[in-house]
């Protein structure tokens, strides 16, 4: 028996709505969990380059005399989801330790490679490698998602960080990072 056209339309509408809902849930799931009150920075995309402006985060860090915990994640990166899930799962325990920090959530994609990713601070916009050189970070050779930087309010790195987050995905190790244990 043929389905009436209106039923077809209704079913299609339901599927589209469900898909949209799933997409929204997935999109919401990506990024630092809200419990950490992250300052989300979306890139300005033009001519194949994605530029993240750290200016507002720096200004706020100086105003509030807080450190910056800058997290670079990609929407399509499984390691990023894993770290974010770790943060989500342990939020009760970790959030109090993040209070001296402003968590900055730079939202990128894996397609944004080192030569396409730019960081802006004030008048200066540098690609990933040049930015790393400018702050004396050893992670110049390749861009790894996710990445974390720790800065003081003057954008001075507080500690050399590893590529990736795999070495601080336990509460104890996350606290090592927040306490700048080297």
């Amino acid at each position: 028996m043929d389905m009436p056209l209106s039923l077809h339309r209704g079913l299609a509408g339901t599927i589209v709505a469900a898909a949209l809902g799933l997409w929204l849930v997935a999109a919401h799931a990506a990024g630092v969990p809200p419990a950490y009150t992250p300052l989300v920075v979306e890139p300005t995309v033009s001519e194949g380059r994605s530029e993240f402006d750290l200016g507002p985060a720096l200004a706020r860090a100086q105003r509030e005399n807080k450190r910056l915990y800058v997290y670079l994640g990609a929407s399509d990166c499984p390691y990023c989801r894993r770290y974010e899930n770790f943060l989500r799962k342990n939020a009760d325990e970790l959030v109090p330790h993040f209070r001296p920090w402003i968590v900055v959530d730079l939202r990128s994609t894996l397609a944004t490679t080192a030569n396409r990713l730019f960081i802006r601070t004030g008048d200066r916009s540098l690609d990933y490698t040049a930015f790393q050189h400018s702050i004396g970070d050893q992670r110049t050779r390749m861009l790894v998602y996710p990445s974390v930087w720790l800065f003081d309010p003057q954008l001075k790195p507080l500690m050399q960080m590893p590529a990736g987050t795999g070495t601080f995905e336990t509460v104890e190790e996350q606290l090592e990072i927040l306490n700048l244990v080297q």
Binding site: C77, M142, P162, G164, T170
Partner: protein, 289 residues
């Protein structure tokens, strides 16, 4: 007919035999594309730098038998970061608290990574010509592991220091392999002018992929065969400074910072052999200030 006694193997062959014995101790493959992997959450993080590991207990027996090893005696120090920028390139520094004199000197240094599949990263055979047995290099560290240095003195004493190093990765591209024509280029640099009669610092780099054999080619989905620098012999003005027996636990483009004592202007020379028996040479004329 007289039965001939077995001839002793040269040092490098002995080390190679030792390495064959040691290979296979590691349980996991070396980080082939190190930055494309990540440590499993929950790995031991409260391990002390001076702790032993089951792998070390095995290695110790195979390398040194029942000889006593003084840990933390201060004769040798290993400096390594708790977390390096990249697991494929962990900077390590060996500092010897002993001047190299003919009466007593560091005769051999063993550099080990407990959890790597081939844990013995390097064995350095030294002479007093090195002046000061301090070395720096970069290691591949596959997973959370102790890195150790065992210093063997000319009087037979063994001293050890160790550091616990945490590594993992994330999502990224594999190393660049666009310049195969450069493989084997052997480059010396002096960070500062050499000083007559005093330990002077030199940097040696061999451009080489130092492939582990565990790395998957993402295009062919085949493993890239192991291909690494096996030995380096460094001399100054015709006199041996040190010989290094190496493995793929040394990072891509193996580099060494070392000391030597120039007594007159001369030539620093490195003879390099890789696992395909390719031979490379690097030289530098040294003017002494």
């Amino acid at each position: 007919m007289t039965a001939s006694l077995p001839r002793p193997l040269p040092a490098s062959s002995r080390a190679r035999t030792r390495r064959r014995l040691l290979l296979g101790l590691g349980a996991l493959p070396l980080a082939s594309v190190p930055a494309a992997r990540a440590a499993v959450g929950g790995l031991p993080s409260n391990t002390g730098h001076a702790d032993v590991s089951p792998e070390w207990e095995l290695l110790r027996g195979r390398l040194f038998g029942t000889r006593p090893i003084a840990a933390g005696s201060g004769r040798v120090q290993l400096i390594a970061p708790l977390r390096a920028a990249y697991g494929a390139s962990v900077p390590v520094k060996i500092v010897s608290q002993l001047a190299q004199t003919p009466a007593l000197y560091v005769r051999r240094l063993h550099l080990l990574v407990d959890k790597n599949p081939s844990p013995l990263a390097a064995t350095l055979e030294l002479t007093p010509e090195v002046g000061q047995a301090d070395f720096e290099t970069r290691l591949r560290v596959d997973e959370y592991s102790h890195v150790r240095v065992v210093s063997e003195l000319s009087n037979g004493e063994l001293h050890m220091d160790s550091r616990y190093v945490k590594t993992s990765g994330g999502c990224s591209a594999p190393p660049n392999r666009d310049s195969p024509e450069l493989i084997g280029r052997t480059i010396f640099k002096l960070p500062e002018p050499a000083t007559m009669g005093a330990p002077s610092t030199a940097d040696l780099t061999v451009l080489h992929p130092n492939d582990t054999g565990f790395e998957l080619n993402n295009v062919t989905v085949m493993y890239i065969p192991s291909f690494f620098v096996r030995t380096i012999a460094v001399s100054y003005a015709g006199r041996k400074v040190f010989d290094a027996d190496l493995d793929f636990s040394i990072s891509e483009n193996p580099s060494w910072r070392f000391r030597f004592v120039p007594h007159a202007p001369g030539e620093l020379r490195a003879e390099v052999v890789d696992s395909k028996e390719h031979r490379y040479t690097g030289t530098l004329q040294v003017a002494v200030g």
